[in-house]
Structure formats: C-alpha cells, structure tokens
Symmetry: C2
C-alpha cells in the first residue's frame, strides 16, 4: 500500500516543485485570473522559468510571450491552462505533446455544469492519464506554495507580510472561494502556509492525494482541508494513515453533516458527500479532527504553532471571577476536557498566595487581586501548571487598557512550560483586541471566545490521547492464509445462490476462528433425529435456505424442541411453511441446532459503503439497533483499539458492562470477533455483506447464533440482509 502511495505522491511533484511554468491563455490584464499568476510569479520572485503563452501578445509583464506550448524553447514542468472551455482540450493535448507533467486547469464549465461538461471533463482526465500528466482542476483556483514562491493560482497574489511561523500549515480546499477566505484569515494571524490548494472538480488528482502529499512533504507540519466528499474513500484512508505515521495532525472542515447542506454540496460541485455516519466514524478512527468553524481552526493552529500539544485532557481553569471560572469549567467538560482535582500541594501553595475569599479548587478563582498584586497571576499560573495532573490550562482575565502586566506574565508562563496555555482575554473591544494581538505576536494562544478556545484544546487533547493509545498497540492476530483460502472455497460453492445461508455462513465463521452453535444440517427426518440425539435436546430447528432470510416470518424456525416426538411433528411443518412462504426457494435442509443459554445479543457485520468500501458494524440486538439506530461503524481494516472503541461507543454498552447485578459480557471476545470480521472484509473479495445476528455474549466467551453472507454480485437483490 505504502509503495503505491509514495508513487502517487511523487507523481504530484510537478504541481508543487516545478522548475518551469507555462501559463496557457495568459492575459495582459494582470488582474484577470489568467493574468494574475504571470504577475504574482514574477513579483514574488519565483526562481524557475515563466512562460506566458498567448498568440495575441509578444510580451506580458516583461516576459516573452509564446504563441503555443510547442514554441517554448526549454522543457515545461507545469502548465496553467486558463483558456475558454471550448479550447481547453486542445491546450491540454498541446501540453502533452510538449512533455508537460503537471497541469492546473482554471477553466470552468465542465463537470459542474451537467452531463456534457462531465463527459468533456472525463476526456481531459483521459488525455492527462495517457500522457502521464497529473491534472489539478478543472474549475479550480490553483496551487500556492510558500517555500518556492509558487503562485500558480488566482487566489494568493503575494507572499504574506508578517509570518510568525513559516512552513507550517498545508490546506486543501474543495471550495475555491471559501478556501481562499480561510487562507486570508489564517494568514492574518501570522500562521504561515506551506501550501494552499484549490482542488476544483478533481478530474484527476483528488483531495486525498493532496492530503497524502502534505503528509509526505517536509514543509508541512499541520494538515487542513475543506472537504465536501471524496470519490475514493480508500485513498483517504491511505492519506490518513500516512499522516498518522508521520504524526502530523489533520484538521478537516467537512460539509454536509445535515441533509440540507449535504444536498447543496452534492448539487453545487457534484461531489459525493457520502454517509455522515461513516465519515464521522472514520474521522474518529483515524484521529482526524473535524473542525466546525474557522475560529476553532485558528485557535488549534495557534496552540500547535506554539509547539504545544496537551499530554492528555486534564485541564485547569484559572479565572479572575468565580462565575467566569464556573462557566469555563462547564465549557471544558462539554468539549471533553477533564477539570481535574488539583493536588493537595498545589492547593496549599495557592492558599499561601491567594486571599481567603479566593478558591484554590479547580476552577481556580484568583479574584481581582491580580489587579493590585503584580506577579500574582504568573505565580499562580506556574504553580497550577507544575501540577503533574494538569495537561493544559485555560486562563481568563479582563483586558486592561494600556497595561500589559498580565500579558507579560502570561507570555513568561507560556515560554516556561511545555504545556499548552490558552489565554481568554475579555473586556471592552479595543483593549481586548490589543491584548490579543500582543499575545499572538509572541505566539501565545489568545482569544476572546471561550467556546472556540476550549473546543480547540479539547480536540488537540483528543488527538494526543489518540496517538498515545495507539502507540504501543499490538496488531490484530492474523487469520491463517489456509483458513482464508478454505473460507473463499466455501463461498465459491455458494456462488450461484448469491448468498450463504446460515449453516454455510457459519462454516465460514468457524474457519475464521469464530465460535458458532453446534449444529448439523439434516435433509431427512432420520438425519434430523440422529443429529438431535448427538447434539442433545432441546434443540432448535431452522430452515436453511439462501432464498429465505427472514426465517421467523417464513415460519421456518422452531425453538426449544424437547423430544424426538416433537421433532418428528415439527420437521414436516417447517418444510411446508417454507414452501408456502417462497415456493421456488432452494432448500439446503433443516438445521438442527443446540439451544443456547440466554446472554446479551449483539450484532457484528460487514457493510459496503459507497465511498469507503468495506466497513464493520457493531450494535446491540433488539430495540437498540431497531428503535435507536444505536450502531457503530468503522472502515476496515480495524485495529484492536478501533474494535474496542466501537463497542464502547454504542449506548447499549452499559448492558455489556453488567447491569443490576448481571455479569459483564466478554468484551475481549467481541473484540476478537470484530477483528476477524475485519479481516474477512479485507481478504475475502467475493464477500459483500455479513450479518452475525445475534452473536450471543456470555461472561466468558461468545457464540454466533445466526449468520448470513451476501456475495458480491448479488448484493442488490430483493430481500435485505437484515434478518
């Protein structure tokens, strides 16, 4: 996987590191999109060669202008195409003929305007692919890279003036205008971009590939993006894995959480918005922070730019008013931070400094005494930060006009500690803004808005804990090759049926090492009686047919059959019922099965997501799934931690933990089943869907009581797999 990814990343190099650029359709009007790069590349001192191309001009902005790509004397790495839509294909072909390896197409009027545009866009992609060119766009604003002054876009026309931290943030946007606005806003805070990319219609290079490029790129420390939807979720998985491997935080703004926005996103760029449930689960699975506002993004970047990542989620709150501290404590709890009890020594040290009407419990109320006691704020903050149970601190104080005493103290505090400190400065507008700028200029995170600050801190602590939790994770134990091969053979035998009914599905599960009920398939009453004798009464009788998924509805299920006499009575009934229910149904036989003792019923399965492909689902049986949609999902493959987290995620988890004196279920055993199911999803290509329902969970061990497997070609047949 990684090799393929590295190859993809390498193929993007001409888009980001060209030694020469041609601007096809360059305008002499340098304010037009087709003129802006010509101006910006020259003005900002791009070090490579710049070739405007336009038969109308001899020269643009002091550069010789060429009539066509062919007439450019030297090689061209990157071409920007900014000609009308009707001329774009020819321009692209000209680039191919010239040996160009990277192309950015500004031109719009393709996939975003309908079917005919989509067809033309596919043709662009085909030409690029055949010529070995990578293509950004069409309908995009292009690419900006800071380190080499690559102004191959019409959104960023000059290098930022004030940069407090260089080569830091790489941002990929599926919206040009929104992305450019985010660029402007973040840039103003002094946070340097490594790259800004407007991806446009993604005819060739997709969002995830740019993310992967950022992960592999030495200029980028933190990765961000505005995402409406990816076409190929597997590429996003790869990019996310690479970012995790190199420990670069990924923060994405993902549109379409709710239906109206999802509809709008789908219609306005034609992008696949995908399932919100799967996306949000995937973000959690891969430690990706979903950012919900620009302000929150900026605050997270400020904390990271200061070189801080909280070691965990234990936070201390310091405020100059009791009420403010209480409200901040609530915000911290809301966003997943733990407002910890301070150590007795910490409190004792604070008690020595603070008046009796202060509170040295967390949230610490340091009172307005900081106005009259210079140094008090810094001392208290340092004492609290030195508490080993504190991972981060939020400090709130009132902005004073023209007095930087508190600010200077907090700058010292920030410098002297490796723990993040967020300054919440509030007060009258002018004084507040001045104070915030004063702090920000020293790379000290500061804002007026508690909500955004605390949310950003909560997100970073979640990311940090995510990394810690997975740092020493043992990989899932692999299912032996032989077992996978045998499972594939069993599935191949059922190819014509399109599905594996219970008995066969369970034999696959057994190959995977998943315990199932003891059972035998009988095709005559005599066989059934013999089987029941072996298994021991009472038994369950079930119709086994790939054409009957809802056994209960079909009258194809008798539980608790106690005697041979009862069995002999039910056997013909079950066949008759099945025949009534579905006359042409293929009947494999009657399954004679042990009766299981009661336990907690859960569901483990495989579903195919249109974006991400194979996913593993988990939920509790009965009303949890049916009435509450209480189901967890992860993109395959899963790690043991993923499996455990998805179990803990469902509301019904409390039932598995043991309730009202009932014993706890064997969570480890469920984890193991989920991991094996994950491997089935990845390694059995014929498998489309799996439903183990129920998987019986006991204090020690689990048993698959019923299962069905849907094969790939028949995934869309009439009866749903939800039995």
């Amino acid at each position: 996987m990684l090799e393929g990814l590295n190859k993809k990343i390498a193929s993007l190099k001409p888009l980001f590191e060209p030694a020469s650029i041609a601007i096809i359709g360059a305008s002499a009007d340098l304010r037009k999109p087709s003129g802006q790069p010509v101006a910006a590349l020259v003005n900002n001192g791009f070090a490579g060669r710049i070739y405007p191309v336009n038969p109308k001009y001899k020269e643009i902005n002091g550069l010789k202008c060429y009539p066509d790509p062919a007439s450019i004397p030297g090689p061209v790495d990157l071409a920007i195409i900014a000609v009308p839509a009707a001329l774009t294909l020819q321009a692209l072909k000209d680039c191919a003929a010239k040996g160009v390896t990277g192309v950015i197409i500004f031109t719009s009027g393709f996939g975003e305007v309908g079917e005919e545009g989509k067809r033309q866009q596919d043709e662009l992609a085909r030409v690029a692919r055949e010529a070995g060119m990578r293509l950004c766009g069409p309908n995009c604003m292009g690419i900006f890279s800071a380190h080499n002054r690559l102004m191959a876009n019409f959104a960023v026309m000059e290098l930022p003036g004030r940069v407090l931290i260089k080569d830091f943030f790489g941002f990929v946007s599926q919206s040009g205008g929104f992305g450019a606005a985010i660029y402007q806003t973040v840039k103003e805070r002094g946070i340097g971009f490594s790259h800004f990319i407007s991806t446009g219609n993604e005819a060739d290079v997709e969002f995830s590939e740019y993310l992967a490029y950022m992960a592999g790129d030495s200029h980028t420390k933190v990765i961000g993006g505005y995402l409406e939807g990816v076409k190929n979720g597997r590429q996003l998985v790869e990019a996310a894995d690479l970012a995790l491997q190199v420990r670069k935080p990924v923060m994405l703004i993902k549109a379409g959480k709710f239906a109206p926005a999802a509809r709008a996103a789908a219609s306005h760029t034609g992008s696949m918005v995908g399932s919100e449930k799967v996306y949000s689960s995937f973000f959690r699975q891969k430690g990706i922070t979903r950012v919900e506002s620009l302000e929150e993004l900026v605050m997270a970047l400020s904390i990271l730019a200061a070189g801080k990542l909280p070691g965990g989620n234990r936070v201390a709150v310091l405020a100059t008013s009791g009420g403010r501290g209480v409200m901040l404590a609530d915000k911290c709890s809301e966003f997943g931070l733990d407002v910890v009890n301070l150590a007795p020594e910490t409190r004792a040290r604070l008690d020595q400094l603070l008046p009796s009407f202060a509170s040295t419990a967390n949230p610490v109320d340091i009172t307005s005494q900081i106005m009259t006691h210079p140094g008090l704020l810094q001392s208290c903050a340092e004492i609290v930060l030195s508490d080993p149970d504190v991972d981060a601190m939020v400090v709130a104080y009132w902005a004073l006009h023209g007095d930087t005493t508190n600010l200077d103290q907090m700058i010292n505090v920030s410098r002297n500690s490796s723990k993040p400190v967020v300054n919440l400065v509030w007060g009258l507008e002018e004084a507040t803004l001045k104070a915030i700028h004063y702090l920000q200029d020293q790379l000290v995170p500061a804002t007026q808005q508690a909500e955004y600050a605390v949310k950003a801190l909560g997100n970073l602590s979640r990311y940090s804990m995510y990394l810690a939790k997975r740092a020493h994770e043992a990989p899932a134990s692999p299912v032996p090759e032989d077992s996978l091969r045998r499972a594939a053979e069993i599935m191949a035998e059922a190819k014509q049926d399109g599905r594996l009914a219970e008995h066969r599905a369970k034999s696959v599960l057994r190959e995977m090492g998943i315990p199932t009920t003891r059972e035998e398939l009988a095709t005559t009453l005599e066989e059934a009686l013999a089987s029941a004798g072996k298994i021991g009464y009472p038994v369950a009788l079930k119709i086994d047919s790939p054409d009957i998924l809802h056994k209960t509805d079909a009258g194809g299920l008798f539980l608790n059959v106690k005697t041979p006499g009862e069995l002999a009575e039910k056997y013909p009934q079950i066949l008759a019922n099945a025949n009534n229910y579905n006359q042409g149904a293929k009947i494999n036989g009657i399954l004679v099965q042990e009766m299981l003792p009661p336990g907690t019923e859960v569901i483990v399965g495989i579903a195919r997501d249109e974006t991400f492909g194979p996913t593993v689902v988990f939920g509790l049986g009965g009303i949890f799934v049916e009435a509450l949609d209480d189901i967890a999902v992860r993109v395959a493959p899963l790690t043991p931690t993923d499996a455990r987290e998805m179990i803990e995620e469902v509301k019904g988890y409390r039932l598995l933990q043991g309730m009202r004196g009932a014993p706890a279920g064997d969570i480890d055993a469920i984890v193991e089943v989920i991991l094996r199911v994950s491997q089935m999803a990845m390694n059995l290509p014929a498998l489309a869907e799996l439903d183990i329902n129920p998987l019986m969970v006991y204090p020690r061990g689990i048993i698959a009581a019923d299962a069905v497997i849907i094969l790939k070609d028949n995934a869309g047949s009439q009866e749903s797999s939800n039995q």
Copy 2:
C-alpha cells in the same frame, strides 16, 4: 398565586425606586466600594436625596455626612450598608429603627465563609423580615437602574455614553464580577440596560424575585440572568410564568451543567445548584432560553433590539461562496433551524438576476458577482425575504475595506422587513470590525462568528414557536374536587403504612379517572377463587403489601395462572415466599388481577425535586429507563403541550409511534394520564412519590398495570420506590 407575586414585586420597590438613599459606612475615598455610590449618585444626577452616613466625616463629595441613620432629617427609602461585617447587624437594626424599607448590604464575610457566617446572615434576614425591610445581599455589588440613575452599587459608576436602545435589558446576576463584566460588554454594543442587579448571598430577596420584578417592570423588555441555583424553585416558576404572560423573553446563563462546575458553584457561593436535568427541562417547559456564551447573548439582544422575532424556524442562507453557504446551512440545522426549500417563484426571480454558476437553492450561492453588480445583494436578499416560507435570513459576505455598498444595502433590507436578518461579515480583522460597527450602529444584527449568530437565531425561533404553540392551548381538564377529596381519604387510611401498595394506589388512580387492571384483593383462598371466577382466567396473583415493593424479588408474583387448581397451588406459595422475604411485612392480601394483553410499557410518576418540589416523570419501561436513563421530567403543574412534549422527548418515542408495522400507541391517552398525575402532584399534599410502572399503552387506550404511592413522611424509607 399572582396576587402573592404582585405583593412580592411591590415590596421590592424601595430597592429600585427609592426617593432617598443613605450610604451607611460611606467612604471619603470615592474609589472604594463604600465611596463609589456617593460619587456616582451625585455625578449622574440621581434625583432623590442622598445621605452619606459615617461618624468620621462631616461631608463627602459635597454632601452633608451624618453620624448615624437616626440623625438623618427626612425619611430614607433605601440604605446601602458598607460597614465591616462585625458592625453590619447593628447598622441594619439602625436602618430598621429609622423606618428604611429597602437595604443593600455590600459587606461580605457571611454565608460564603462558613457556618458562623451563615448564622449571622440568617440573623440579618430575620431582622429585615421583622422590620418589613427587603434586603439585597449581603456580599453583593448592588443595584443599578438606568431610568432613575440609581447607582446603588459599586460596579456601574457612570451612565453609558452611546445607547442605541434605551430601557431594554434587565440583568440579574448571582456573580458580581462576572455580572459586571457582562454588563460592560453588552453596554458597549449600545444595548441599554434597564437594571443590573448583583444578588449576592440572597439572605432575603432571591434571584427569582428580581426576575419577577423585571417581568412586571415597564422599563424592561428583555430579561437576562446569570444563575448558579435558586433556593426556592416555586418562585422561579412564578417568575417564569409572569414573564411568559407579559411576553418578555428570558435568557439565562446557568452554571453547573457538568459536575466540576456544579461542585465549584456550590462551594464558592454556597448556592444550591440543583439537578441539571430538572433545570434544563424546566427551561424548556417555560420557554426560557439557556444562553451558553456572552457572544450568543449579545447576538440575541441585537436581534430583539432591532424589534425582530422570527415567526418560526424556517431560515434562508445567502452567501457569496458555495462552501461558506454549505457550512452555514449545517450550522443552521445543528441549532434547530430548518433550511427550507425556497418557493419556485422565489427561485425563478433569483435565476433572472444571478449567473448560471450561482445556486438559487437554499443555501443560496449569490457568488462574488455582488462585488461587480451593485444592488444585487439587496435585490436577492429582498426576494428571498419575501418568500412566505422564510422566517429569517442569514447573509454572509466578505468585508471590504472602505466600501460600504454591501452594508448600506443590508441596512435597507433590514429596515424594509419585519423578519430578522443576521449579517455574518468576515474577512481581515480591521475591515470586518469596521463593517460590523457600521451595521450595529444602525441596529442591524452583525457578527463575525457564525456559531453564535446561528445559535441565537435558533433560540429566538424556538421561543417564538413556544409562544405560538401555547397561544391557543386548552387548559387541562380539572379532576373534580370530590375525586380529589376521596383520593386524599384513601391516602389518609394508609398513613401508618407510609405507602399505598398496589391495590390501594390503583384505587387512587381510579378516582383520578386513570384506568387500571380489573382486580380484587383476596384474603382467603376462597375469596381468591371467587375473584378469579369473576375476572376470568388466566389471572395474575400478586402479593399486596406496603412493605414489599419488589414483588418479583420477593417471589410475590405469579403471572398467567390458568385454572382454579393452579390458583389453589400458588396461593399458599405466594404467602410463604412473602413471609420468607420479609417476615414482619404487613400483608393486605393477595391481589387477583386480569392478565393484560401485550402493549408498550411506559412509566408515569411523580418525584420530588429538592429545588422545584413536585415533578412529573415519563419514560418507556425496561432498558430505556434502566440502561439509557431515557426519562423526561417536567415541573408540576403541566399543560397539555408540556405533557405531549415530554412524551416526544424520550428516545423511545419511536416505539410509541409504531415501528416495523406495529400500531402506534394512544398518545392522547398518555397525555391525559400525565395531566391527571400532574394534578395529583399539585392537589394531594400528602403524596410524596407516585410510580405507575408499567402503564400499558395500546392503540386505543391505556391501563395502569401496577402502581405505588409513597406518602410524605415516609419518603425517605429504606426500599426505593423504583419497583
């Protein structure tokens, strides 16, 4: 109730409308808390008489200073006491002797510092009460009222300079410092306060009474507060009802949503924080907006100050970038706004104005064409606002330096429509702030932060819909007096038991008109057989004892008894089991009861909240309540709408709506039960708790299958009422 409330409100008049003020312990240092009111009352032109009182001075700030209250020549309505804690009681007694009717005690060192302080505070309250004085504080910052320039505090020292809307916002704060900071911040936006009150320790006048005063006061249009907890929830109910009656929105910041903040609030002011669940349910019940940040509060005030309240929650989003619009649509959905489909005519009119690459679906992407087409923004905004399906609009655009074209258009739009329009201006900091001020100065709601703006709009739409929904609500039909009297008699008969076991509890329910199972209490086997004969087999047999609440645990329950023979066998068993379980238990007899057909099991009950008193609870039986805490609560009494909303609130509601082909439950019948239970809570003073569990719900009708009533004196006995 209203009469009592009006009397309370009238009693606060000396605190808010004094004709004369004494400042006991006035300081000649006008920067000290005890000097500030002397300065501020004079400087701001308070029209009444001002009497500094301090034996140390002859004169303060040009006013004659008196040695003690007694030597003041005229009457004194209001006294501010700012003497040391040890002298406070005497000062209060002096005020009483002088005939003062309102007192504000700044002095701290009472209830907030421990048991002795609490005792002294109780003494202050006693003296005030006996003298007929109302007391604000101690440990407070006092009261500010704008219309009469009442600077009876040490937080607000001057009248605000720029007031865009006068006599508007009344704010009551349980935190002095936090409240004063909120005052400063809101004031800076040009929003005028009617009153600002720092309530301190609330030895006498409580938070809710100030709220009620604001509701009754002609200077206040919108009521706000910072609340940690009230002592007497019933007073808060009264205040909320009065505010609803006069249609003044109430917006409260409530601390203690999560445990750490709740602990801190409880310890630092000694206030009762109460149950988060009950508070949040109460807010919903009374249309009170819970504000979670200052920014959100300010935005809501801006919208209200512009004289706008959305008619409903249907919102249109207009943005100059597709991505921004999509993100805003998600925010709207998140905060309860409905991003509606625009009418075809609206879209057709927009289509005529906008280019083909714009989107006229909601969110509307008007594109950056507004930069080049003056008037386009206003035209589009007006077209969208004129859509009858749109209640409010959110407009987002980029701030331009020194160009007010868009702003002027949006000011026009705001002026020409009765629907709220929120301007989200974003961009580089300076340009954005200028643009926002430009709009705010015209009372046009504007901000940079989408989150706060959309949340505020969502809250106001919820308030508006709350009012509409209850505007024509029929009151609950009252339970006849006779029935209540008989129910009280039945309860009185069980006084010694402390509880009403099932049979008696159900006879109370029947008096309330709540259907129950057909059943008879038997004390001999013969009676039991006769009862079963009447009721018809199969029957249920249950032990009926006030001392055995958990019948199943006690082996005191046999279901589905099919024959007289079986009954004769079980009857002695049930008695033996009960005797084994609890030897001294009082046995009323054996309940012979009809077996009910299966239905959806719900729970309706009465619980006592330490703050609010009687509350009504509702939930679905089984795991919903047990594993998911899926229970709704309302403070009694409930209206029919309250009852319906609490049913709709629980997650298990989907089961009642009918699932997987099962018929829907009779919601109307549950509403009726809840309303009768609410009347029991209000009109049966001996009743502490009630638990109807289960109430069986059928497609038509409901039946109480089991019930228990706990009487007041015994509410705290060993066995819980949760059976």
